[in-house]
């Protein structure tokens, strides 16, 4: 599996309501303090005026972080752009780890109130229509791959893969854990 450009979205807790613009100084501070390891942080862009859009974005050479509001499911999205060595499991683990690091940073920053994430769910988004076209064949291929990866990462966990993206959208699906597995801040 050659896919390099993909992302992970960690959802905010359903009752979490955070004014988008409050994140602007937080992201600027991350740039100033080089807060995200192995990332060259470049700039902050305010797209909070777009409903269903990327909200506030933190642009980095390696990938973009955004407070994505797509489908009215707000959360922290990390979309990787730069290549990572190793097989897909290794690449996924790296992107997943960066997402969790960013979530933990946001959690610690306390935007008005504490930023909380759903601990038993994340969304995978393939961002390359050449290598991961959104079709049934690839949905099955990636689902199987994720089942293998998650079995290695959470041997006792139980999950379902659901909410596949619609035709025309990027290949994406959500992994919902059915037990007390906590993917956040372990």
């Amino acid at each position: 599996m050659e896919l390099q450009k993909f992302g992970i979205k960690l959802f905010f807790k359903p009752n979490g309501s955070y004014p988008s613009k409050d994140f602007i100084p937080v992201f600027h501070n991350w740039i100033k303090t080089n807060s995200v390891p192995e990332h060259m942080l470049i700039d902050v862009i305010d797209y909070s005026h777009i409903p269903d859009g990327p909200g506030i974005m933190l642009i980095a050479h390696e990938g973009h972080f955004s407070l994505d509001k797509e489908n009215n499911m707000p959360g922290l999205l990390y979309l990787r752009k730069a290549k990572i060595d190793g097989d897909f499991q290794k690449r996924f683990e790296s992107v997943f780890a960066t997402s969790l690091q960013a979530a933990e940073l946001l959690h610690k920053n306390k935007i008005g109130s504490e930023v909380d994430f759903q601990s038993n769910s994340f969304r995978f988004i393939a961002n390359d229509r050449l290598l991961a076209e959104n079709n049934e064949e690839n949905q099955e291929l990636f689902s199987n791959t994720f089942n293998e990866i998650l079995t290695n990462m959470y041997p006792s966990g139980k999950w379902v893969i659901e909410d596949y993206s619609q035709s025309g959208e990027r290949l994406a699906f959500t992994i919902n854990f059915q037990d007390d597995t906590n993917i956040i801040f372990n």
Binding site: H28, K32, I42, D46, S66, E70, D128, L130
Partner: protein
């Protein structure tokens, strides 16, 4: 097949395919350092691949300027432009026409290669931001596969050809100019006679003379539809442009038959190539050539060139196809007929729905805040367009989309579907529909945050738009991040352009307030600046000026423009005077940051600045004085005193130069000639006064005026002299800030 090139090879025209292949090769050669930086920069610009803020590898984080250490190291993609730095890609959309298939592709590519946002520009283009140069050939191929090119979207070339977005359905138009705009765009694309320009060339078409959509007067070449003796043609305008110093286009031909417009442009291209300025970019637009030669001589040279042009079938071949041109609605015309209207429908319909000349059909305007639409919304919009109208979507110069050929009975359903994806904001074409260039968000030239201000004004005005006086509600606001006018501030009822002022040692973001611009009559009049106001006070300025207008207009029939034309500039300036004050940093630090950006302007300077205490330097006082004199020049112009106005514009520059000299020397002559000589020696020749991008242009305004006092003044020429004077003063402020920075660095060095 594992690459887009192979997959799409049968879907791209041979010509486009070859162009993209060549560009891809040039990228590879540049990576091997086999192409000079400057040459590669112009090469990529011609492909629409533009630079973006921080691409010099430096970014100020509020405390200090820090290096952005890109993996590519020292490798460049142009002078001072780091290879790995994200850039902008401009995509040409001739006459704004775009279909659902193209919208889906635009959405997909924005996700995969940019920031998942599709941005509409003030010239009907699309822009992506944060694009890596090595991704651009693939983006170009995928765009080419749906009939879109980025070729000549930037650079010294014929840019996107624009036209009224209502062409073909407008109630007032003489005829549909769309096919002419399309033919012009196709004919000029990569045309050999237009490959050696000194600067860009912009063309626009308008269907009528009264309304604004085409804004022909601010273009290098413009055509307004006209019929004479039963034959289609155009009133031809040439030499217009906004930029730092705006020029109204001049009428070149009262009527030019349709079969002559393409050869005319070709002939102009040859004259512009041969005689246009090549070395000094600041004087290289065709407006300067027209001004230098005079319209009559320019026209003579063009006609001479026209006579010797070898015949080209394409000049007229598209005319044979005109009878077949037209749009075929997918729905039958209908009426609302008392249908149940969803909540919010009436408010939306009032300004966002325009009746077509074809009965039973409407144009729907989708107002995009700041010209932005997400990839997700774009894809859904494509579905909606396909369902209701088919192919007939257009972008507008007001950074919106329009959907044409909506059957009237579909309006409630369409509204609900647009509303579900956040695309049914009401108030299109009103005071809440604000135009803004990218400004400091992404533009290398931006001084202040035009988008931040636009967002703030939109949020302030949108909730109260129904309470506003109707005349106020119908005003247009346009904002540029600097004097270069990409936000078209000159042609707004209320325009603003970004600048900065140094206050007690600190830089404070400001906007110059520009009043008197005219959007109607194809950008019929350009506004003039009445004063610089701290950015954070602009919302209050908008409220103050609109209240002042409502309370003091002679009657409800007196328009905003008529009112401000009637009022003395000095009276207007008094209205904003209270907002020009900057509170001390410790009292209100928010003035020292820009909208949507918590970084304090040059915070690193402030530590030293605080040591400087509350002392206001004589230079600052004199620069303020220069601004006052420049303003007085406007008042003189308003009173029709051309000589006095021009003289004051000159004196304002002299005072600005004197202010800078005073920073360096105790004894300053009061003789203008000596001041200019000293200024030239110490500031111009040393390049201390030079702008990073405009270089010596602003200093030249003073030097040229001193050497060659103008004669035969007219309203336009004095207007320009005042604009030049204002720009000189802006540059003097910037120069003073630069001198303070140098001084502080030196002091800091000594302290270590």
């Amino acid at each position: 097949m594992t690459n887009w090139k192979d997959i799409l090879k049968d879907e791209i025209t041979a010509e486009l395919s070859e162009q993209i292949d060549i560009f891809e090769t040039q990228i590879e050669l540049k990576k091997l350092e086999k192409i000079d930086d400057k040459i590669f920069a112009e090469t990529r610009l011609r492909k629409g691949v533009y630079g973006q803020r921080y691409d010099n590898g430096q970014r100020h984080d509020g405390e200090q300027s820090r290096e952005l250490k890109y993996p590519s190291g020292d490798k460049l993609k142009g002078p001072e432009t780091v290879w790995d730095a994200p850039g902008m890609l401009r995509i040409k959309i001739p006459f704004g026409g775009v279909n659902p298939k193209q919208l889906r592709m635009l959405a997909d590519l924005s996700e995969e290669y940019a920031d998942a946002v599709v941005h509409i520009t003030t010239r009907q283009d699309i822009q992506y931001h944060f694009v890596h140069i090595e991704d651009t050939p693939t983006i170009m191929r995928r765009l080419a596969a749906v009939g879109i090119t980025t070729h000549e979207a930037c650079g010294n070339a014929v840019r996107n050809v624009t036209a009224c977005p209502l062409s073909g359905v407008c109630q007032d138009e003489t005829f549909d100019v769309s096919p002419y705009a399309k033919a012009m765009a196709e004919f000029m694309l990569n045309h050999p006679d237009c490959q050696d320009f000194g600067r860009k060339f912009k063309i626009a078409f308008s269907g009528c003379s009264e309304h604004a959509c085409g804004i022909v007067n601010m273009h290098d070449l413009g055509g307004i539809a006209k019929i004479r003796d039963g034959k289609n043609g155009f009133e031809i305008y040439v030499g217009g442009g906004l930029g730092a110093v705006p020029h109204q286009a001049k009428i070149m031909y009262d009527f030019l038959a349709e079969d002559e417009i393409l050869p005319l442009m070709q002939a102009i291209g040859r004259v512009f190539t041969r005689l246009g300025e090549k070395k000094n970019r600041a004087k290289a637009r065709v407006k300067f050539l027209v001004a230098r030669l005079g319209l009559e001589e320019f026209t003579r040279l063009v006609e001479e060139e026209r006579q010797i042009l070898p015949h080209d079938e394409r000049w007229t071949s598209y005319i044979d196809e005109l009878p077949a041109w037209g749009e075929n609605p997918i729905k039958k015309s209908s009426s609302l007929n008392g249908q149940v209207k969803p909540e919010g429908f009436d408010q939306w319909q009032e300004k966002n729905v325009i009746s077509q000349r074809q009965e039973g059909y409407k144009v729907v305007v989708i107002m995009l805040p700041l010209g932005d639409i997400s990839s997700h919304q774009t894809r859904k919009l494509a579905d909606i367009a396909e369902k209701y109208i088919g192919d007939y979507v257009r972008t507008t110069v007001e950074q919106n989309f329009v959907l044409r050929w909506v059957s009237e009975s579909d309006l409630p359903g369409l509204y609900e579907e647009l509303n579900a994806i956040g695309l049914a904001d009401p108030g299109a074409g009103t005071i809440v529909d604000i135009t803004a260039c990218p400004g400091t968000d992404t533009c290398k030239l931006g001084i202040a945050s035009s988008r931040g201000l636009a967002d703030e004004l939109r949020q302030m005005l949108a909730p109260k738009q129904w309470e506003l006086d109707e005349a106020v509600r119908n005003l247009r606001i346009k904002i540029s991040g600097c004097f270069n006018s990409c936000g078209q501030h000159h042609i707004a009822d209320m325009g603003f352009y970004g600048n900065s002022r140094t206050f007690k040692g600190y830089k404070v973001p400001h906007f110059q307030v520009v009043l008197g611009g005219q959007w109607t009559n194809n950008a019929g009049n350009f506004g003039l600046a009445i004063g610089a106001v701290p950015s954070k006070n602009i919302p209050q300025v908008v409220l103050k000026l609109t209240d002042y207008y409502v309370e003091n207009r002679s009657s409800k029939e007196e328009s905003f423009q008529e009112f401000f034309a009637r009022k003395k500039k000095s009276v207007l300036k008094e209205q904003i005077q209270e907002f020009t004050e900057v509170p001390p940093y410790l009292e209100d630090s928010s003035f020292y940051t820009d909208w949507g950006d918590p970084r304090v302007f040059t915070l690193g300077d402030m530590g030293v600045g605080e040591c400087a205490g509350e002392v206001v330097s004589l230079t600052e006082v004199e620069l303020q004085s220069a601004e006052r004199i420049c303003f007085e020049a406007q008042v003189e112009l308003e009173d029709g005193k051309l000589d006095e106005a021009e003289d004051k514009a000159y004196k304002a520059m002299i005072r600005g130069a004197s202010a800078l000299l005073r920073k360096e020397f105790q004894d300053i002559s009061s003789d203008p000639d000596e001041i200019v000589t000293e200024f030239k020696q110490h500031f111009y020749d040393t390049k201390l006064f030079w702008d990073r991008f405009a270089h010596g242009k602003f200093g030249k305004y003073l030097i040229n005026r001193n050497e060659n006092p103008p004669s035969n003044l007219n309203n336009d020429s004095v207007h320009r002299k005042i604009e030049e004077s204002q720009l000189f003063i802006e540059a003097a402020h910037a120069c003073y800030a630069k001198m303070m920075d140098i001084e502080k660095k030196e002091l800091s060095g000594k302290a270590i």
